[in-house]
Symmetry: C2
Subunit: 382 residues, 2 copies
C-alpha cells in the first residue's frame, strides 16, 4: 500500500455558496467565465455568478458541449491568449469543468493543445481554475482529470495533471433543483461506476479504502432507492457530496484500479453519442461477468457489504445482477441500442478503435484483451 | 450541510518513503529537525532522516515531551529565531507534530507564543512544516490542530490554524514495528474517539460522513480484534491510514461535532498525567451514558452499523457497553485511578479547571453542564 496523495481543492459546500467566488478570485485577475448551453441562464446560476463577479474583470465563453470538444475548446484557448486571461471560472457539470482543464493548460502552451491528449505535451503549468458545479456526477470539480472529444478524429481521450486541479469548487446543492430526472439518474450511475472502478479489483485488504468505497456505494444505492423523494435539500446534498468523494483520488489511493469499463464506454460515446453514464452501465455488467473469476473475491465482498446479500456459491454472480438491477431501477438501460442493425460491425468498430489506442489489454490483471472485449460487447449489444 | 473543506497536505504513504523529504524540502531552506526522546535513534528513523537531509542545511532540537510543553517548545522557538530557520521537520508522533505547529507559528511572532493558546494572537503565518509520523494516533500529520501543555500553569490547551497544516506528511508503516504495545493500543483508542467526537452527535442524515465514520470505526475495531496478529505490513498500514483519516477534517465536514470528551480528558492529563488516549477512554463511556437521551438515535445507528447489534429498546445502552468493552479488550482502562484517595477533591479539581476556561456547557446540544460533568466524573473515577 504505497501511494502519494494530495488534493488541495478548497470546497465551499452548501446553499448560497456561489457568492464566495467574489473573494476566492482576486480582483486583479482577468477571468474567463466558461459555461455550456443555456441551462445556467434558466436556473439563476448565471445571474448569481455575474453578481458575484462584480468588481472583477471578466469575459464569457459559452457553448462547451456535453462531451466537450477540442474544436470548441480551442476557440476558448484563443480567447485566453488574445484577452490575456489569468483565471478560468468553469460553471457547469463535468463537461464544462473537464473542458476548462484543457483550456487552462492549452492557454499556456504554444502548440496544438490536443498534444496533451496524445502524450506529446505533458502540462506542468496551467491557468488557475475555479469551478461552480451544476451537475453532480464526475467529481471533476476536485480532481485533475479531463476527458476531451476530438470531433475531427472521432476520438474521446483522457488526461490527468496536477496543475489543472481546481483551486476551489463551489458545490451548492440548490443548483440541482432544475436538473432533469435523466441527468440526476446518470449522475448516480456515473458516481457508482467511478467507485466500482477503484473498488472491484484485487482484494488487497485495504480497510479504509474499501470501507469508504462501500459507504459511497451504499449511499448512492440509498439515494437511488429514494429517487422519487428526491426533491429535498438533504437528498441533493448527499448526492452532491457522494459524487465528489467518488472521484477525488482518496478511495483509489493505495489500491489497484481498473478503468476498463470507462475505456470501452468512451468508444460507445465517441461512436454513437451514448450518454457517458449510460455507456458505463452498458459495459460494466457484461465486463464483470466476463472477468468474474478475477474479481470474485471483491464481488462477494461487495455483495455482502454493499447489497447485504448472504454468502452463497453464486454470490459474485448475484452481486453483478444486483448492480444491473440498480441501474435499471433508475431507467438506465444496460444494453447498447444506438449502433444500428449491424451488431458485428459495431463490435468490430469498438475493438478496432481500442486497438488504435495501442490497446493490448485492460484491467488490473491485464486480462481484458481484444478477445474478451469482443465477448463483453457481444453480451452488451442488443 | 454547509461547510468549507480543504486539506492540502501531501501524503507520502508506504514503506521507504522517508527518503522523499530529500526532494520535498528545498535545499535552500534552513531546517529545524525537531523530535522527542531517543526512540527515533533506536528504530533507525533518525538515521534515515539524516541521510535524506544530506545536502540540506539543518540543525536539530530534541526533547519534545509527550504532551509537549510550552517551556520546551519556547526554547525551540528561540533556536528558530536565532538560526533563521525556514522549515520545520517534525519527526515523531502527535506530540512532536503538535509541538512543531506551536514552534512554527511562534517563530514568526514577536510576543509569547502562548498568546496563541489563550486567543490573544491568531496566527495567520507560520514556518512551513513537514512531518515524519512515527506513531499513528492523532492525525496531527495532516491537520491544523495542536494541543500544548503549560507546565507553569498546569494548563493543557488547543489551537487550530490553517497556516500550521503540514505541507507534507511521510507515513511509513514500518516505523510502527518497534512501538510498544501500549502506544499501539492507545493509538487505536485515540483514533476511535476522534471519529466518535465527529459522529455521535445529532443525526443529521449526512450519508457520506456517517458512512466514512462507520467505516473507520469498523476498521479500528477489526484492527483491535486482530491486535495479537499485528506484526504484519497490512495491519500497520491499515492502522496508520485509519488514524490519519479519523482526524483530517473530512468526516467532520458538514456535521455537528462534540469534543466534550476531549475537553474533560485534557484535564485528567494536565492534573494526573493520564495518557491522552486513556483519558478519553475514562471519560467517554460515562459521558455517553450521561448524555444518552440526546444521542440515542446516533448510538443506535452506531450499534447497528458499527457493532452489528440487533435493534432493541436498550440498543443505545448496549452500544456504549460495546465501546467500553472494546477499550478494555485492548487493556485500556475506563476508570480513573491516578487521582489518589480523594475522589470528591478530584472531581472538584476538574470542574474547577473547566470553569477556569469559561466553561458554561459542552456538547453539540450544550447539555454537558458543570452539574453533568460532576455526574460523568463520579461514574468515571474509581
Amino acid at each position: 500500500m504505497n501511494f502519494t496523495y494530495q488534493n488541495a481543492t478548497q470546497i465551499f459546500f452548501g446553499q448560497g455558496q456561489i457568492s464566495k467566488i467574489s473573494d476566492a478570485i482576486g480582483t486583479d485577475a482577468k477571468v474567463l467565465f466558461l459555461y455550456g448551453g443555456g441551462s445556467i441562464k434558466k436556473n439563476g446560476v448565471y445571474d448569481q455568478t455575474v453578481q458575484a463577479l462584480e468588481g472583477h474583470n471578466w469575459v464569457e465563453f459559452s457553448g462547451v458541449e456535453p462531451n466537450p470538444t477540442k474544436e470548441t475548446l480551442d476557440k476558448a484557448i484563443a480567447v485566453c491568449k488574445q484577452e490575456n486571461i489569468d483565471f478560468i471560472l468553469a460553471v457547469g457539470g463535468g463537461s464544462v469543468i473537464d473542458g476548462a482543464k484543457y483550456v487552462a493548460a492549452g492557454a499556456l502552451y504554444d502548440g496544438d493543445a490536443w498534444d496533451i491528449l496524445i502524450g506529446k505535451y505533458t502540462p506542468e503549468k496551467a491557468l488557475p481554475i475555479g469551478a461552480i458545479l451544476t451537475i453532480p456526477a464526475t467529481g471533476s470539480e476536485s480532481n485533475g482529470n479531463s476527458v476531451i472529444t476530438n470531433v475531427g478524429t472521432q476520438q474521446k481521450m483522457a488526461f490527468a495533471a496536477q496543475c489543472v486541479l481546481p483551486i476551489f469548487a463551489i458545490m451548492d446543492p440548490d443548483v440541482m433543483k432544475t436538473l432533469p430526472e435523466k441527468q440526476l439518474a446518470n449522475g448516480i450511475v456515473d458516481a457508482f461506476v467511478h467507485v466500482c472502478e477503484q473498488y472491484i479489483t484485487k482484494n488487497a485488504g485495504a480497510m479504509v479504502q474499501d470501507g469508504f468505497s462501500e459507504a459511497l456505494l451504499r449511499s448512492l444505492i440509498s439515494l437511488g432507492n429514494d429517487f422519487n423523494d428526491r426533491d429535498n435539500d438533504l437528498w441533493r446534498a448527499n448526492l452532491m457530496w457522494a459524487a465528489n468523494q467518488a472521484l477525488n483520488g482518496l478511495i483509489g489511493s493505495g489500491v489497484e484500479q481498473d478503468w476498463s469499463t470507462h475505456m470501452i464506454g468512451h468508444e460507445l460515446t465517441a461512436l454513437w453519442h451514448v450518454d457517458h453514464a449510460r455507456s458505463l452501465a452498458i459495459v460494466q455488467p457484461s465486463l464483470l461477468r466476463n472477468q468474474i473469476d478475477h474479481k470474485r473475491g471483491k464481488l462477494e465482498q461487495m455483495g455482502r457489504n454493499v447489497f447485504g446479500l448472504e454468502q452463497s456459491d453464486d454470490l459474485a454472480e448475484r452481486t453483478i445482477d444486483a448492480i444491473e438491477a440498480f441501474y435499471n431501477s433508475l431507467n438506465v438501460a444496460t444494453q447498447l441500442t444506438e449502433h444500428g442493425d449491424d451488431k458485428q460491425g459495431a463490435i468490430d468498430a469498438v475493438v478496432s478503435r481500442l486497438e488504435g489506442l495501442n490497446f493490448v489489454s485492460l484491467s488490473e490483471n491485464g486480462t481484458v484483451t481484444p478477445v474478451e472485449v469482443r465477448q463483453i460487447l457481444t453480451n452488451a449489444v442488443a
